[in-house]
């Protein structure tokens, strides 16, 4: 007797760059027959309508690709512009950009850990449901999220689609009093960040041992964020401009998002990949806090992503505190830009991982062609691979509900530009 058990996990609203998604899972004879992470949000075709726009508009336009990590889009774009135009924005701008980016990491990671991931591990449907039993944890998370937003606002005026950044630097510099006041709040939040690492490590994270390739930026001195070379755990080490020679995107029939491969293989980007490749660049207090958890990076447990996120919040706080020490308002907040034709490349570490941009400009500084490879697209293949392994490890004979829960948890663990949407997974079982 053959039983066809079709489990269809439907995700009608996956809020992310590439948009809505669903998971098709067909289990037959105890084997995964089909496993497809489908992304079907109508394409917004950003790459096309960037054509003809002037370089100065790019930071504002690309921000609109993603409301969760607009800073990352802005920073990759300005890097591409400045690289081509030969602009050196100088140390003040470099420092403030890192601060700006720290804000985004803190807000995005805090949001993911508390609103999206925690309910999974603690057995709730939503963070609001946790509000009573875990009031302290939630308050702490919201406070950190708020701090991240405050950092972005300091330099960008608002946290979603901030308006402060431009090619060459920033439109304005915040007053020293404001900076000092915010820095004091950051210092005061350090114990919370340390506690968060311990708390994340204490969550009942499922065991998992997988072999995967980690890809991230790497910088000679810093934990990677705004600049560096692209490296991979199996030995790749290339400048940003060579991304396309090693990584390829392909279209699959069931998704509007393109899948990216490294030398034909899926790979991981994001906090765990960064941590696996750059743990040696962490600030000592973060390393110490991690050491106390007993979790060692590089790690082969995908669920250690949540610990990596907590560690990156701590790292970003320390980083911002350091960079804002002795802050002085500069005479100039941006270097002048003189357009040049040619191709510019930019890659930064968005909260969810490597975000790669390439633009061709004409003499007037208008975009002729654009290509943007967001992190979620790069993680898609890895997610399918992980799902396959995770569900098999769980046991395909398990109840649909258990399969669904585990599948959601796995997908959400990648924070695929709002893994929240995977709360939406619905199981439809068809029996012939």
């Amino acid at each position: 007797m053959t039983t066809t058990r079709e489990v269809r996990l439907c995700v009608p609203i996956l809020a992310r760059v590439e948009g809505e998604g669903a998971l098709d899972l067909v289990v037959q004879d105890g084997r995964i027959e089909t496993l497809r992470l489908r992304i079907f949000e109508p394409p917004r075709m950003f790459e096309k309508f960037l054509e003809g726009r002037e370089y100065s508009e790019l930071p504002d336009l690309v921000a609109r690709i993603c409301g969760i990590c607009p800073v990352a889009y802005q920073m990759s774009a300005v890097q591409a512009i400045e690289g081509l135009f030969g602009i050196d924005p100088g140390p003040w701008v470099r420092a403030m950009r890192r601060v700006f980016y720290c804000g985004e990491w803190i807000q995005s990671h805090a949001l993911h850990i508390h609103w999206l991931a925690a309910p999974d591990f603690l057995g709730y449907e939503s963070a609001v449901g946790m509000a009573q039993a875990h009031a302290g944890v939630l308050q702490r998370g919201l406070a950190l999220q708020g701090l991240g937003n405050a950092i972005i606002k300091l330099l960008g005026a608002r946290s979603v689609h901030p308006v402060g950044a431009r090619a060459g630097g920033f439109y304005a510099a915040p007053p020293a009093e404001e900076v000092a006041a915010l820095r004091a709040r950051l210092v005061a939040a350090l114990p919370d960040a340390e506690a968060l690492i311990a708390w994340a490590a204490s969550l009942p994270l499922p065991a998992s041992d997988q072999d995967f390739i980690s890809v991230s930026l790497r910088h000679p001195l810093d934990y990677p964020m705004n600049e560096g070379r692209i490296v991979a755990s199996h030995g790749l080490d290339i400048p940003v401009s060579e991304y396309e020679t090693h990584f390829a995107e392909r279209q699959v029939a069931y998704s509007t998002a393109l899948f990216a491969d490294l030398h034909g293989r899926p790979y991981l980007v994001g906090p765990l990949a960064r941590m696996n490749l750059n743990a040696d660049r962490l600030h000592p207090p973060v390393r110490a806090a991690l050491a106390r958890t007993g979790i060692v990076f590089p790690s082969r447990n995908m669920f250690h992503s949540v610990v990596a996120r907590a560690a990156e919040i701590h790292q970003a706080l320390l980083e911002a505190i350091g960079l804002l020490a002795g802050y002085r308002r500069p005479a100039e907040t941006a270097a002048a830009a003189v357009p040049r034709s040619g191709t510019g490349f930019g890659a930064t570490e968005a909260p969810r991982g490597l975000l790669w941009h390439r633009y061709e400009f004409d003499d007037e500084g208008c975009v002729r062609r654009a290509r943007i490879v967001p992190p979620t697209s790069q993680n898609q293949g890895r997610m399918e691979e992980d799902l396959r392994g995770a569900l098999e490890a769980l046991g395909l004979d398990k109840e649909e509900e258990a399969l669904r829960r585990r599948a959601e948890m796995v997908i959400r663990n990648y924070d695929p530009c709002i893994s929240c949407a995977t709360h939406f997974l619905r199981v439809r079982v068809a029996r012939p």
Partner: protein, 263 residues
């Protein structure tokens, strides 16, 4: 009896930045919870897309045949429908494709464009179903959304100011970037609500909050020309985040044609 306001948050084609305002309002959101019940809000973990609600917030533009059906269901299930953000009120930045050859664009992005189902235009919610309130902005902010929620809790329409950015710019004592720098600021035709963020960081407003009431787009465009902006650059000022808002669209097309005439 549960007297809480039943609320849904729906997403269509968008960047997610508008609904994020709920999650970014942090402790204030929790303080509202005794009076508000999120029935459907995927990002926060509440799933019931077809449940009846008092207020539905709709983010994103309509851009597929499925969207058209889904927004009808949302409308049928909600007593008060609020379109939030530039995508939902004007079709969003992605409405730039409305004036372009969408098929050619698809072909340029996707190797096999036929497999991607999309309408040729990206359009506002109000062009498909009646909308009770539009909250403009790209993105809308926490304050705006909480205000709408509060008003609905009190059973009244929200009080949405519709002045221009300029007035708020002056209230905040920012120095006018148009007058003092000659920057092509869109503030004089743009809907208030952001807090005049751009002029306050010494840059020209780029109209992310859409057209204000009684805007004189042509007079402002003429002023930009005096400031030395080329027709194509003027056209781009209008054909940006809210390109499909009729006033902006019209002004943008006029200046784009002027550019084409020169070219």
């Amino acid at each position: 009896m549960d007297t809480r306001l039943r609320v849904a948050v729906h997403k269509f084609s968008s960047c997610d930045g508008c609904q994020l305002a709920f999650l970014n309002s942090g402790a204030d959101l929790l303080r509202l919870m005794p009076r508000v019940e999120f029935v459907h809000f995927a990002e926060a973990g509440f799933i019931a897309p077809d449940a009846p609600v008092d207020v539905a917030f709709v983010e994103g533009s309509i851009s597929t045949p499925q969207d058209v059906e889904r927004i009808e269901r949302v409308r049928a299930n909600s007593r008060y429908l609020v379109a939030i953000g530039a995508c939902a009120t004007a079709g969003g930045l992605q409405a730039l494709r409305n004036d372009a050859d969408a098929a050619a664009w698809m072909a340029a992005v996707y190797p096999r464009p036929a497999e991607i189902g999309a309408l040729p235009v990206s359009s506002a919610i109000a062009s498909h179903v009646p909308v009770d309130e539009e909250v403009w902005g790209c993105p809308v902010n926490e304050w705006q959304l909480l205000h709408v929620l509060q008003a609905r809790i009190f059973g009244v329409r929200p009080a949405i100011e519709n002045d221009k950015v300029c007035l708020e710019c002056k209230r905040r004592q920012a120095v006018c970037v148009l007058v003092a720098q000659g920057a092509p600021c869109m503030g004089p035709v743009t809907h208030t609500g952001c807090g005049a963020l751009c002029p306050r960081v010494r840059r020209a407003c780029y109209a992310c909050y859409g057209p204000a009431e009684n805007p004189n787009a042509q007079a402002l465009a003429a002023r930009f020309a005096q400031l030395g902006l080329a027709p194509a650059a003027i056209a781009r000022r209008f054909l940006s985040i809210n390109n499909a808002a009729p006033v902006f669209h019209e002004a943008g097309i006029v200046w784009r044609e002027r550019h084409d005439d020169h070219a």
